[in-house]
Symmetry: D3
Subunit: 217 residues, 6 copies
């Protein structure tokens, strides 16, 4: 029992790969994803602050840095499995929760247990920081699928991931972060070499159009 086990577990997150078997050009470990999501969240935190919103920075970094630590316990459960039924989803989330609690009780010294209970709890809540995490997580996913599509990976799953990620980002389109993303970052992405010949521009238009239609309702 001890922090030594926690420090070693960080390295295990270097060996858990996202969507195993799908990425052909660049694989991404959970550790790498966590780094990128935290860096993206850091940028969006600054956008929100510039827009006059107050950011709890400690909370934002905590949420982003630790948001996928529990992948250590449950591994890569494919999304269709995870969401097969609401009941199963609930149950898996309970198992994840209880395995995290077990880990904390077994490995974390008692004086730090409350701290890690706080750090490792689900971070995507309704606070500003929770919403920034939700967006940053999807923006990184968008970039990961974009990278494969740009290099010519014909697997349709990346087009699906791109669409799903972008549609989720759109849901938060009232936020300053998402406004900045849609106005400044996404257009640059779609002007990258070779993208015009892919499905991405049309797909992006469809998702935008759908969002506008939803808005006008």
């Amino acid at each position: 029992m001890g922090i030594h086990q926690y420090f070693q577990s960080l390295s295990d997150l270097e060996n858990i790969y996202r969507c195993p078997g799908k990425f052909k050009y660049q694989e991404h470990s959970v550790a790498e994803h966590s780094f990128k999501v935290t860096s993206i969240a850091q940028f969006f935190g600054n956008v929100e602050e510039k827009a006059g919103n107050e950011v709890d920075w400690r909370a934002l970094y905590e949420k982003a840095l630790n948001h996928d630590y529990s992948e250590l316990f449950i591994g890569d459960i494919k999304t269709p499995v995870k969401y097969a039924t609401a009941e199963l989803r609930e149950m898996l989330s309970e198992v994840e929760e209880s395995m995290t609690q077990n880990f904390i009780e077994r490995e974390i010294p008692s004086e730090f247990q409350n701290i890690y209970r706080h750090l490792l709890k689900e971070g995507k809540d309704e606070t500003l920081e929770g919403k920034i995490l939700a967006i940053a997580d999807k923006v990184d996913l968008l970039y990961e699928s974009f990278g494969e599509i740009q290099k010519g990976n014909p697997e349709n799953v990346f087009v699906e991931i791109y669409s799903e990620a972008l549609a989720t980002i759109y849901k938060y389109r009232e936020m300053a972060s998402v406004k900045y993303f849609l106005a400044e970052i996404l257009p640059d992405m779609l002007h990258e070499k070779g993208i015009r010949k892919t499905e991405l521009p049309e797909l992006t238009n469809d998702i935008t159009a759908q969002a506008l239609k939803d808005d006008s309702k």
Copy 2:
């Protein structure tokens, strides 16, 4: 020019490997190292807080998360080169600084340039947060070399890295973080399977003895 380039550059840090060609059992990208250092710094921040010291959490996360971003510009310059002469070291540090400034001016939109100048500046200063970063950086390096030694990599360079990292950590032995590390974490590390037969226990004793001798002067 734009944040799109910054977001893409995060992914380039997944492709820059530490000590290229040396790790035979597990390689570590700069992105993965940054994640681990930030998580280790997060733990030490809590130790310091428990010890009654005030932690500027935003500063701590900023320093740890971004501390190796400039590896993007300068690549892996071998340590002996970096420190060949004080003059060269100075000059390389100026080049790194100026390439970071160029990147910020070229890619970061003007309204965010001051923020990124602050985020990407050298973080290892004399503040409590700067010192926690210095320790966390070495603790991760210690774990990286420990992993190779435990698995049987005969390259002497990992013994040298272990020694140098531990000696640097010792320099901060007045800090609560380092006290905790030496009393609670290091002993667990040395009790891992197969370590007793390596040079690590004796090496660790030598470094401790040397430190005690320095203390008593």
Copy 3:
């Protein structure tokens, strides 16, 4: 819809790795594991036949070849998660079953659907062929963990896998296959170079002793 999708899915099984992130010396894809389990089952089928038992060869090959095809749908769910509660285990098994059914209905032409319903159903039943599959599956797992231990991987998980696999094989020790395995194959394994210095010989003795004790009850 069509057999084309089924043929392509075979190749996806080359990209799903067993125990991702654990094997440091040799990784094993689900496709490779399936090949080895079928070859091992083929040997045990011959042992049973020599011992005077009738083997339904078509059934044996079908069970062994297709026994992990459904990993395609559910991915690598870590064992502790899978068995966290009896309820969850049941539910996951239902999801797996229903995803397999969906795949068959969606991709397999109707004239072949009944055949694939038969081929892809759970094969580890109480028939002789079902039991041979159960043993062959564990023998391959034993060899996979043995390979890592022999090469010096210090991760305790392989000792646990070895023990669990061997204990499961022991449960079938009334079968001619397992008698042959224990008398002729396991001793050769434990005489391999470097194994005497590991925990494996003692561990094996403990499991045997426990089994004998159970027998004498």
Copy 4:
């Protein structure tokens, strides 16, 4: 001497790669190829049975599963070498045969030697099962080259492999399996994303036209 060596040799087939140095997007081990060929042969066996032909299932599985085991002894001899002269081809085939016999005599316990002499002999004979193996072997090769072409590998060797494999399949076009393949599977393959822009559709037409011309003779 013993089955232990045979079980370990299965794992060596995970380390022998097909066409080493050619596949850039997805490599295929001999173990993986054997799994896929057996699964494809299993499908074609069902097609033949539906067409009213009697299938000896045990023979079919034995042939498919073990058809490349002897790659263990001879390694990857490039096709042009193998077929350089009829004399050399004959001689290599004798060497392969004699090395397989040696292995059986050296490693397989005497009571199982006849069984393995049967299992490891050349399977592509004039029986229905031998012909299904010949087709299944080429279908997997076709899929392997198709995968590289679809992802954009410019090496001409994959176009050659595709053509040679398809032409060989065509030779068996009187069989129900091949009729099914040409009518139902190949068209789906050629409708995959991005294939229309490659040479494959034209190439396929040429091979078909040639076959029809041969038929009408």
Copy 5:
């Protein structure tokens, strides 16, 4: 101290990769690059000899084979860093020189030190052999970037490398080797499958046009 260390260091050059993190389709170690540059230089040496120029073959092979040995000491310093200022460039070159000298004094037995001082000194001088090395080094770099562009790597850095390498080769266009390269080899390269759709033909024309303009001045 001894030649043993030198022999082992050759193997370290198999672990130092060129432009780490950039090549997605085929990586190239410094050892592999050295082999190719020497083989290319060997060809150009023959071209020069045919053109009536006298080639010092020993010098040519020595220069080509050993030209990147010092990468062992300095690692991969990114080109923009290396050339940031003339002063830094000078200093890095001094450090490289002095680390090579240290290595020779520390590892090479005294009776061979003068030989290795000669072998490991900078080879790109104004002799015919020095110029052939300069060209061969760039031709290999051209082929490395060509390989990535042909396979569809969208990273702009390869287009930049191609341009820079070709422009440097052009500088030596008075030499028989370069004349042969431009007249016989480059056109074949640009006729490779898929190249017509890339930027390379236009880029090549621009570089040629610029060179002609320079010539006519």
Copy 6:
């Protein structure tokens, strides 16, 4: 047809790996092996020169650099196959020879064909340079197997390779190069960390003793 194809073929030698599937810690491409053999031969050439023997340097470099180019045509034929019968060995060597001739006639422009006939012919003849090549080839093989044994690879094949390589080197023990190797390099090798616990010291003694016995006959 052209030198372009020859230049591209150099890169194919980066993708042909030695003893595929055997090396677990460090793989070696034919290109890398060629670089190391040439560097080792360069050293031994200097030893011979110091011993008063005249070295034809151009011949030495040509032999070493190009000695495995024909692996391009024949691939990795396992040693036991190659030497199965004297007749087969002869025949394979004829095939290799005739494929090399075909390549030269097909790809090399006529004005260079004689040069490449000379460069690509078998180099291990009875000249001093041919003998240095034979030794250098085995020394590199010795180092390759040594690397695996030192890191703990339990596969017996590396002990066999070490023995066979050393025994072959011993056959040339009248040469100054081999005397230097045995007196100065081999002892350093056997003093490397962890080697004392392996079979190598005893094995080396046995080979030496056998050689002395042969000498005294």
